[in-house]
Amino acid sequence: MNISAKQGERFAHAGLALLLLGLLPLALGPYWLNLVGKYLAFSFVAVGIVLAWGYCGILSLGQGVFFGFGGYAMAMFLKLEASAPELPDFMVWSSVEKLPFWWEPYSSLTVTIASIFLVPIPVAFIFAYAIFRKRVSGVYFAIVTIALSMTLVVLNIGQQGETGGANGITDFSTLLGFDIINDAGKVAIYWVEVVLLLTATTLAALLLHSRFGKLLIAVRDREDRVRFSGFDTAMIKAFIFTVSAVLSSVGGAMFALQAGLVTPSLIGAVTSVELVIYAAVGGRLSVVGAVIGALLVGFMKSYLSEHFPEIWLFFLGGMFIFVVWVLPNGLADLFRKILRVKA
């Protein structure tokens, strides 16, 4: 079978839609659908990593920061609803007497959702633009971001009374009175998530096929030439980093809804680096591959850490090495070769 790259990509997107909208909901019960939903939450981040790392060469090891932000924002709203009109239980335990001011906005769902989408924009943009304008990039950027995520975990755990500390935020079960842990709730959230995810993958693909997408690749391969041609490359990089931050935040919010808890480890360096492998396994140049990679690695993680806990780290470590060494463009590349897609 000989197909062109364009056809191949359309097949891949159609296949993904078929899988998420048709096959999985038909084949799986609510329990498994909920698990798949959790893996899909990570795939938002993976799509962002494909955009920033695969196409623009920016490796961020701090995506967990934005994932955690989205997760915490959602969890704060749910927790306030669960404990209203009292204070959340962990605040009472740490004898916090008044709701901290930065919790106040999260008693409204509209504000919560808006903040999940909007707050990462200025934060990520200002941070990234400042750094990229100074031409700090590559491994330096990776180190700064991983340090940032580690530091935020320490800060988060330290503020036990206001953030729930090491235990995170747990014990919530309703969204505007609608039960999210019974079967109907889980399935409903799955549908919302899939629609959001397919929108994100479609937009990402459109972005990559636009003129801007070509510019991204040019920045990745020869940033100095793009700069000499009169483009503000720092602006381009900061923009794509911001897009990936917003995607991570949305993924975090979906995770909080389906997992029923958020913990500081979601923000941490280990999660942040793991998120990169989701994208790398699927293929750093393939939006659809990133989603598939997140599903596969997520499933392996649940399966192995449940049945063979001592093997999981060997497996994960081995996968980092294998993907980098043998399959730099991930499973998507393997499929391209099998299906003989012309580049």
């Binding site: 790392w53 060469g57 490796l59 400042a130 750094i131 100074k134 031409r135 700090v136 590559g138 491994v139 330096y140 990776a142 180190i143 700064v144 991983i146 340090a147 940032l148 580690m150 530091t151 320490v154 800060l155 755990i157 330290g158 503020q159 360096a269 680096v273 990169v276 492998i277 790398a280 001592e310 780290l313 060997f314 994960l316 470590g317 081995g318 996968m319 980092f320 090495i321 993907v323 980098v324 060494w325 730099p328």
Partner: protein
């Protein structure tokens, strides 16, 4: 830095009533010296870790995320040596530390050599991929330690002549083992400086760093130089691990605790600058302990990271960047 802190420490004591007796001044001075010394201890670990990283990262441009696990390897080697000597050659317990440090260096040096030849060298032109691959390696090593030594912490017995403290005044107690570590760190640092700047081998290493193609053209075996630089960096991590056993106990996650801090030290000081690495580990360690005294540990970490990012914003190549056009 130290002078400014000298002014700050008494200011914090402003709550003390106006009449300050001589004893109280001594106590304040004692706290100040102890603080400085606590900073020195953190400084030694950071410096030993960062030295190895600075060599590998600065000279070769390789990001080795498994550096922390190599440090843990040195720590476990020390632990094994200590248990072996304790059971079979109890007469040598007094000097086991020196044997252990040499062994830790040898083991990690060899490991680094093999690692570079069989693994790292395939990724030289892909720094970000090196980062991911070595992260994978670090996970595998961590799990290996967990399977072999268990998840709980292991610690080594402290040599008798190193327990106890030197007490120059009543309020100042400086533990002997920490004084020993400081001396050892200075020795190792000078040794590295000597090797890099005063030996033929160091000359070759610096030549390869500056211009690989020309070095190769004049007959330097650049592959061999690469392998030895990497091995030396790993060996230094091994020494760091060995030293670490004297102040803390080792568990499989020990390496991860220090890896990011060490990278921050290297980046802050400016890569490829030994002086920068030493100065920046001193600054960061002193700030860390001083800020921990003034506020909570988590806030101290945040403050330091913000400071480092601010400094990097104005000096993107680090505090002590060499003025070479890349």
């Amino acid at each position: 830095m130290t002078f400014r802190r000298g002014n700050q420490a008494p200011r914090r004591k402003a709550v003390i009533p106006a009449a300050i007796s001589i004893e109280e001044t001594f106590v304040t001075f004692g706290i100040f010296v102890m603080q400085l010394f606590n900073g020195l201890s953190l400084f030694t670990i950071l410096l030993l870790m960062a030295l190895g990283l600075a060599i590998v990262f600065g000279l070769m441009g390789v990001i080795n995320m498994a550096h922390g696990e190599i440090m843990a390897m040195g720590a476990y080697t020390t632990y094994l040596t200590a248990s072996f000597i304790e059971h079979h050659l109890p007469g040598l317990m007094g000097v086991y530390l020196f044997i252990a440090i040499l062994l830790a260096f040898a083991v990690t040096f060899a490991f680094g050599y093999v690692l570079e030849r069989g693994f790292i060298r395939w990724f030289y032109h892909r720094p970000l991929d090196t980062l991911l691959a070595t992260w994978g390696l670090s996970l595998i090593l961590q799990q290996t330690y967990r399977s072999v030594f268990g998840a709980q912490e292991v610690s080594v017995p402290l040599t008798t002549w190193l327990s106890g403290a030197w007490e120059p005044t009543e309020t100042i107690q400086l533990p002997l083992n920490r004084i020993f570590i400081v001396a050892l760190t200075i020795l190792v640092t000078l040794g590295v400086w000597y090797i890099l700047h005063k030996t033929r081998w160091g000359l070759r290493a610096r030549a390869v760093t500056q211009n690989r193609a020309m070095s190769s053209a004049v007959g330097i075996d650049t592959n061999r130089v690469d392998a030895l630089i990497f091995a030396l960096g790993s060996g230094l991590a091994g020494i760091a691990g060995s030293v670490f056993t004297m102040v803390g106990s080792t568990n499989p996650g020990t390496g991860q605790l220090y890896i990011v801090d060490s990278f921050i030290v290297v980046v802050f000081g400016g890569v490829a600058s030994l002086l920068g690495t030493a100065a920046s580990s001193f600054l960061i360690a002193q700030m860390q302990t001083a800020l921990e005294y003034l506020m909570s540990g988590s806030m101290a970490k945040v403050a330091i990271l913000l400071l480092v990012i601010t400094v990097l914003y104005f000096r993107p190549n680090g505090l002590f960047a060499s003025k070479v056009r890349a």
